[in-house]
């Protein structure tokens, strides 16, 4: 049992690999043989009436991206990063990391209480929250335990992007700025922290510096244009752009302003980062710059030499991604990838790089640089700074080794 949900069960690994391999094989057969493609295509769609529209859309039955459920007791699912395009994660594929399941909350019964160091403690209904001036912003969300399997110079090779780093998603969030609510209740100028508490069975609670509220924190009630889904915090959640997932308390029911942090279990025993000098970093909120190639990646197999559109995600909790560099030779040389505009702060940025594979073994790597000048480090650099067993914030350089036979395995340096 791990705390951060970064364990990958053998069974889910095998299942994921088998499913992905299956669809890759089908795709290859279809492309290779025109006659077979025609045979599988069914009746000519221009010669039969089309289907009627439905009240709710659905995916093509041929597109079956799925979250990967891990065995964690509190609840963990991973986003199928390798199956997605652009920078927005469909809400039903957004990763989950719960500490005690998904609560059922009646929207009529929902209340947000704000109290503590305020002029007037207040409660707000969901309708009232929705009536405040709202903002809509695009942000990534990542569990701070994401990618622990990559914090090794000899990681296992047979992991997909989803298995490795699937506790990462990107959404457009709509909600009311916490500062609007804090102004409404008359937050005291000397309040320096607030507790955010959820109404799940874990009663998840985290202390947050008040500056984050005056900056960009939101009480979000919508995601990708619709009400937040239950597993993402329905009817409302705290959103702390660029900060570790756990602090973005879902199903938020209470904000308590204070002049000191509360030292909850999930900011002391968990989500603190031991360091090699015998200390542990506490309140390590910001997510450092990170990037990951999602194609080509295990278990995809390159069919043969030719043009390959390398692509993936880069993101940083400290603002914008400045550039992403690509290496084809395990980090010996680097070249700039192109970034999909617009590059938004604290949001997923899609990068791409055209590569003509000559059929020789290669070691693909991506390295994100953010606008503060931070460069995504190697495992060796990070282990030298923190120690080999440090927990959380695993943003080291990720790589994929391509064999002469086109098979691909995860590999760091």
């Amino acid at each position: 049992m791990t705390d951060s949900g970064d364990s990958i069960s053998r069974r889910s690994l095998l299942a994921g690999a088998a499913a992905a391999a299956g669809s890759a094989i089908t795709a290859r057969v279809l492309r290779a043989d025109g006659a077979e493609a025609a045979a599988q295509a069914g009746p000519d769609p221009t010669k039969v009436p089309g289907d009627r529209p439905q009240v709710l859309g659905s995916r093509s039955p041929h597109e079956t991206p799925e979250k990967l459920i891990s065995s964690s007791i509190g609840g963990v699912t991973r986003t199928p990063l390798q199956d997605l395009y652009g920078t927005i994660t469909p809400a039903d594929l957004h990763f989950e990391r719960h500490h005690h399941g998904i609560p059922r909350i009646e929207p009529e019964a929902y209340r947000l209480l704000i109290h503590g160091m305020v002029d007037r403690p207040m409660v707000f209904t969901l309708d009232e929250l929705r009536r405040f001036p709202s903002v809509t912003r695009t942000y990534f969300l990542e569990c701070s335990g994401n990618g622990g399997a990559g914090y090794s110079e000899t990681p296992r090779a047979d992991v997909s992007p989803q298995q490795l780093d699937g506790l990462l998603s990107g959404s457009e969030w709509t909600g009311v700025p916490v500062k609007t609510l804090f102004a409404e209740v008359g937050a005291h100028a000397d309040a320096s922290w607030f507790l955010a508490e959820g109404s799940d069975a874990a009663v998840m609670a985290r202390s947050v510096p008040v500056e984050k509220a005056w900056d960009d924190a939101l009480i979000a009630y919508a995601q990708n244009g619709e009400a937040i889904r239950p597993e993402q915090g329905y009817p409302a959640r705290l959103l702390l752009p660029g900060w570790e997932g756990n602090a973005n308390v879902k199903w938020v029911r209470r904000l308590e302003l204070s002049d000191r942090p509360f030292m909850t279990r999930d900011e002391t025993s968990r989500y603190s980062d031991p360091l090699k000098d015998g200390t542990a970093r506490i309140f390590s909120f910001e997510m450092d710059a990170k990037s990951l190639i999602t194609y080509p990646a295990h278990p995809v197999r390159l069919e043969g030499p030719g043009w390959v559109g390398i692509t993936g995600y880069a993101w940083t909790g400290r603002g914008r991604i400045a550039r992403v560099e690509l290496s084809l030779d395990g980090g010996a040389t680097w070249a700039s990838a192109s970034l999909q505009e617009p590059v938004l702060p604290k949001a997923l940025t899609r990068f791409s790089f055209g590569w003509r594979w000559d059929g020789e073994p290669a070691h693909l790597m991506s390295r994100a640089v953010d606008e503060t000048g931070y460069v995504q480090p190697t495992v060796a650099e990070m282990q030298a700074a923190r120690g080999p067993r440090s927990r959380y914030h695993y943003n080291t350089i990720r790589g994929w080794k391509v064999g002469a036979d086109g098979t691909i395995g995860f590999a760091t340096v």
Binding site: A183, T268, A280
Partner: protein, 201 residues
């Protein structure tokens, strides 16, 4: 034929426009953005919270002991509760269960969590004992969260502190014990010094 097509298109366009015009988004003027404490006026949404409403939810316990309720328990009482309600998941002595290891000290008070495969426990990693009361009262036992009385929570805390060699076998644990206990890991916790820029921390 051609004329009908244009006509129906025109109807469709008019329909769209009229929907737009009748939409309730016409008056979307929003109050000026509010900047910082004390800025801007009130929107008038929400209502004052009653004292009971606050009391029902405000059960958190601070590191200074603020919020600890009245009550006390002996280690013996606590071990009985622990064996009945906790041991199945956390092991009879706080180790060896299917869920989190709760007990254990590292010889010489080392703190090797970044360098070795060491298990963090209440005794070797937790900076405050108040956290134990706060967390158990809200979230444990996992199969019936929040079901313990305050006395039972004191008991569970007493048991876990005892299993970590932090209180004696004959101890009575109350709010003063919990708030006054200086946990072995108290001084290990340091603020986040990462700040972007070229240095890897």
């Amino acid at each position: 034929m051609r004329a009908t097509l244009w006509l129906s298109l025109a109807v469709a366009l008019t329909a769209c426009v009229s929907i737009d015009e009748s939409g309730d988004v016409a008056d979307s003027s929003t109050p000026a953005p509010i900047e910082g404490p004390g800025g801007g006026g009130s929107f008038g949404f929400g209502r004052t919270a009653s004292a009971q409403e606050i009391a029902a939810l405000d059960i958190d316990v601070g590191p200074d002991g603020a919020g600890l309720p009245a009550g006390r328990a002996t280690v013996d009482d606590g071990l009985a509760i622990y064996q009945a309600r906790c041991a199945v998941c956390h092991g009879v002595d706080g180790t060896g269960g299917p869920n989190d290891v709760l007990a254990g000290r590292i010889p010489g008070d080392g703190f090797p969590f970044a360098t070795e495969a060491a298990r963090s426990t209440v005794g070797n990693y937790w900076p405050y004992a108040t956290t134990l009361f706060d967390y158990i009262r809200k979230a444990m036992p996992f199969d019936a969260p929040g079901s313990l009385t305050d006395e039972e929570v004191y008991g569970a805390v007493a048991a876990i502190l005892y299993l970590n060699e932090l209180v004696a076998a004959d101890a009575v644990v109350d709010s003063a014990t919990i708030a006054g206990l200086v946990m072995p890991a108290r001084d290990r916790f340091v603020p986040d010094d990462r700040a972007g820029g070229p240095t890897i921390r």
